[in-house]
Subunit: 246 residues, 2 copies
Amino acid sequence: MSNTKTLPVLEIFGPTFQGEGMVIGKKTMFVRTAGCDYSCSWCDSAFTWDGSAKDDIRKMTAEEVLERLNFLAPHNFSHVTISGGNPALLKHMGSLVELLHAQNVEVALETQGSRWQDWFLHIDDLTISPKPPSSLMKTNFEVLDSIIEQLMEAGRTAHVSLKVVVFNEEDFLYAKLIHARYPQISFFLQVGNEDTGDEKETDDLVPKLLEEYEKLVDRTMQDRDMNQVRVLPQLHTLVWGNKRGV
Amino acid sequence: MSNTKTLPVLEIFGPTFQGEGMVIGKKTMFVRTAGCDYSCSWCDSAFTWDGSAKDDIRKMTAEEVLERLNFLAPHNFSHVTISGGNPALLKHMGSLVELLHAQNVEVALETQGSRWQDWFLHIDDLTISPKPPSSLMKTNFEVLDSIIEQLMEAGRTAHVSLKVVVFNEEDFLYAKLIHARYPQISFFLQVGNEDTGDEKETDDLVPKLLEEYEKLVDRTMQDRDMNQVRVLPQLHTLVWGNKRGV
Ligand code: SF4
Ligand code: SF4
């Protein structure tokens, strides 16, 4: 039944825009894979790993994923974002990346940096997003060091960014530590979003998120160690966040 | 009285974050110069050229500008954004760029692309923002072609972006034309902001801007000629827009 050449896919959708990080605003398709080696306290895609959506997982070959993308948006995309879960768990992701490149499509991918894959070297916009203390996860710096080192040695610096989500001051200090440890890598701070979209009315969501964003901006502006960073909100949550939920 | 080695400066402030375009979210200082060869119908900094702030213009040497920046934010910036008006009217801007680089500070600059200056070749993040029909200005394509050509010939493509502000469908078609004319240059679409911050209460500003942004996103998503573009709002207006004005 299980085919090691397939990918466990939960969602394929788009075209839409990338709401965060190094290519914020970019027109893109999304492919979301199932499975994660973390269980962050505030994970906004826990359904990818907590079993709640396990019946929705489809085992797809790279060719099938590409077919589905082309069916959804014929000739209407040139960028695909792969997210999870942790897509870096999937050794065979490399063939999808190859297929997309063969069609002149660029590929972005986000992972927390807990596992290396050789196909990292072919990702056009690779976001490594180590998780801060509020996630209750523990960063394995040996692995993270080795990932960043391999990317730099391969001359991929322009294709890589670090992103840390910040919910509180402790997270901010963690972000500083990450930025100081890898100063050559573009660094993005992102406002944490505690709203998981599953309860009450969210009329207050946008003002609340903008307020949190302003606080993070202010904190960063005061900090001389953070002169090179970029601070961003999640644009898709500002636009659509209050339309999800009930 | 007039000293050709000085720059007509209207504002120097920061550190704050860049709210738009190719380095959105980046910690930066702002230097705003006086004077513009355009008079866009919706110009949000008309005070730089309409005479209303002419008593606030200070003639400053590049050294004086740098001193002021260092006084405002000692050791607390490594990026400066020069805006106007049209800073490309100022031949002597080159010396400020040099001074900033000597202090390891990167320089961003925005201009509508109506004039060439040799120091364009040294700007780290150069945004060329041709004005769409709703501005009531007319693009001189001979000049614009020659600017883009010179930048490309000098290998500056990675340091340049095009940005078009869109208020309506006619503007969108103009944006498409610009993007098609210079496909090698990173292209940003930005939502127009008609609120000039000088009238009534602006409680509705954020929902209105987000709605306009969503419309521009939707329009772009449907358009196969716009697969490579990035669509962005003005983040500073979302955060602070409703705090300005009476
Ligand atoms: S690493 Fe990402 S997908 Fe995995 S638990 Fe954390 S937030 Fe969720
Ligand atoms: S080019 Fe810029 S500064 Fe000049 S009038 Fe137009 S919007 Fe205003």
